[in-house]
């Protein structure tokens, strides 16, 4: 006889990143009575940032589906109930009736307070800082922002102090980059870390941010405990120039829809809200010339103008790549063979940390634990 109450597992609206307050159920991929394994995809959810898939928290039977497709629910709201088949329907009914979801306003206020602004020279930098433990700094890529770490921040914050920032000219930081070179950006991030009082940290960088993280390590190795490079620039020559140029010039929905899917292996991640979010950034005065200037220094003619291979052997380094990366080819990872741990993740494109967050978080956590 199964313990009736303790075998009941709620499935709630997940919280992906700081600013998420609610999500809309796009589609259920399971049905009542179906048996699922832990980690099985069970429901597609769209937020104002991205469309994603929530996974089963444990193995078991889906006993009740409460959340309706097409409706929005606050983070933490009950979407479904899992339990052993032997549990009475009445116990499930009672669990659903008694379940208390958090107030959406509380979640929102908490999120608002978690963004901070730091002044670095003439530049305002938006960042978030969560968790306690050894410091970890997250650097997004070309045209990205700190929300690129939506699915990673909370997991890494369980045992680290995590700092994620909008690089200058990106996200909600000031739209100005005084020195767009790799050296200029690396110096800028060090100045930012000085300003907020972070001494030594592990650096995690994605794409262009990966090259910056590696260069920072080469410049000031004493301040870096370890390095994680996710689909980084600077390990090989090629880059998808039509993506870079298309992203830089895109101002309309159509132009953005032509390039944004190249970031993912599965273009189902690219919903209208993700496109609108990217366009909200691209529409701001000065963004297009600013990104053009950055592009001209880093990536032209299908070639990357940075090389950070030498920086990989300075500190313990892990490299993570999405196998189907359409921006920077995954075979650039071979440049790290023998000097870093190399992890190629399947069913993932350039935004591997968003597309396969569980696997990426495990690799990062494992690497940080080994430092």
């Amino acid at each position: 006889m199964v313990d009736q109450e303790s075998s009941i597992v709620p499935i709630v609206m997940p919280k992906w990143g700081l600013s998420m307050t609610e999500g809309e159920i796009v589609e259920w991929m399971t049905s009542e009575g179906e048996e699922v394994d832990a980690g099985d995809d069970i429901v597609d959810v769209e937020t104002d940032k991205i469309a994603g898939t929530a996974e089963a928290p444990a193995a078991g039977t889906i006993r009740r589906i409460v959340g309706e497709a097409g409706r929005s629910y606050p983070v933490g709201a009950l979407l479904a109930v899992m339990a052993d088949p032997s549990v009475d329907d009445s116990a499930i009914d009672r669990f659903v009736a008694e379940f208390v979801a958090p107030e959406p306003e509380e979640v929102g206020e908490e999120a608002a307070a978690l963004y901070s602004l730091a002044r670095v020279g003439e530049v305002n930098v938006r960042y978030s800082r969560v968790g306690e433990g050894p410091a970890v700094v997250l650097l997004h890529g070309f045209g990205g922002d700190l929300d690129n770490w939506l699915f990673n921040l909370d997991s890494l914050a369980e045992s680290n102090e995590v700092v994620a920032l909008d690089l200058p000219g990106h996200g909600q930081s000031s739209l100005a980059i005084s020195d767009p070179s790799i050296d200029g950006l690396a110096s800028f991030v060090w100045s930012f870390l000085d300003a907020i009082g972070v001494g030594t940290a592990a650096l995690i960088g994605h794409s262009m941010g990966g090259a910056v993280a590696a260069h920072m390590t080469g410049r000031q190795p004493d301040r870096v405990s370890g390095l994680v490079l996710i689909a980084p620039a600077g390990l090989g020559a090629e880059i998808n120039q039509s993506y870079i140029d298309g992203f830089v010039t895109a101002r309309s929905k159509r132009e953005m829809k032509a390039v944004a899917p190249l970031l993912f292996a599965d273009d189902a991640h690219v919903g209208p809200k993700l496109i609108e979010g990217l366009l909200r950034y691209k529409r701001m005065d000065g963004v297009i010339p600013l990104l053009s200037g950055l592009r001209d220094v880093w990536f032209t003619g299908g070639t990357q103008h940075v090389d950070v291979v030498a920086d990989l052997s300075v500190k313990p380094t892990a490299v993570i790549w999405g196998e189907q990366d359409q921006i920077i080819p995954a075979d650039h990872a071979s440049a790290a063979d023998g000097i870093a741990s190399v992890n190629v993740v399947t069913n993932a494109g350039h935004m591997v940390q968003m597309e396969q967050p569980r696997e990426v978080n495990e690799i990062i956590t494992g690497h940080l634990a080994s430092l």
Binding site: A69, G70, R71, A112, L175, A195, K253, P272, R283, D285
Partner: protein, 339 residues
Amino acid sequence: MTTAVATRSLTGREAINEAIDQEMARDETVIMMGEDIVGGAGSPGEEDAWGGVLGVTKGLYGKHGDRLMDTPLSESAYIGAAIGAAACGMRPIAELMFIDFMGVCLDQIYNQAAKFRYMFGGKAETPVVIRTMVGAGLRAAAQHSQMLTPVFTHFPGLKVVCPSNAYELKGLLIESIRDNDPVIFCEHKSLYDVAAEVPEAPYSIPLGEANVVHEGNDATIVTYGAMVNTALDAAQTLAADGISTDVIDLRTLSPLDIDTVIESVEKTGRLVCVDEANPRCSIAADVSAQVSQEAFGSLKSGIRMVTAPHTPVPFSPVLEDAYIPSAGAIVDAVRATDS
């Protein structure tokens, strides 16, 4: 030194004010004229008292001085002056309190401004924006509440913009000011006090690009202006019954992004056109006709329109509320496409 930041939100009124302020700061050819936009200038001690009939331009005179001009109560004179200034290299914004008053200066708009580019062989540009309030719900009676967007959409040579919230108001107004053609910029009064997240930096939203604000597979709801929010309420109600809908905010009525509508109808097969305007020759009627011509084969049922009735806007609050298309009426229309 760090500070905590919260998301910045502005009301529709503040978003319009910020757009004008930033464009006047950026480009000295941007000027403004209208009735009471400075408010009492000329009456000692009364400068900047009003900022227009509902206070949208309040504070701008103090920042930009005589680039804002109060005009006599003569729309035909100052709308003509704004169009003439635009033809001579300025970038004027004229505030014409209510679209209902457009009749007295219609020749300047549809026979002059709308025709210059065409009649001068493409060599003349008329970068004027006429800002004007539209829509019912403020108990302002039949002569201050109309949704006359279809009238101006009818004229080739004019652009017609009707935003749905504070974010859209700022970005579409900045784009309209920078556009080199005459723009009728329609501000729904009910959005003036509704706040949304609005970036402080100037930004602009291209004209002629609709926005899919809610995604679904079962039906397409097309609308614009304040009705977008009503349609979103309807979409939530329908979702609770397992009916998922695309909600399309047209943003601009001329140019019209019919491609986004057709793409959606090809997916859903069902179309409901929502318009706060009177039904005859409305935007809803126009979209319905274009879709039935271009995508008839994709339709699984007849197109439904949800509009105001073919009457003036009533002054009685009870009747005015009944006049404005409701979320319930939209829900019923979507259901009717599946019966």
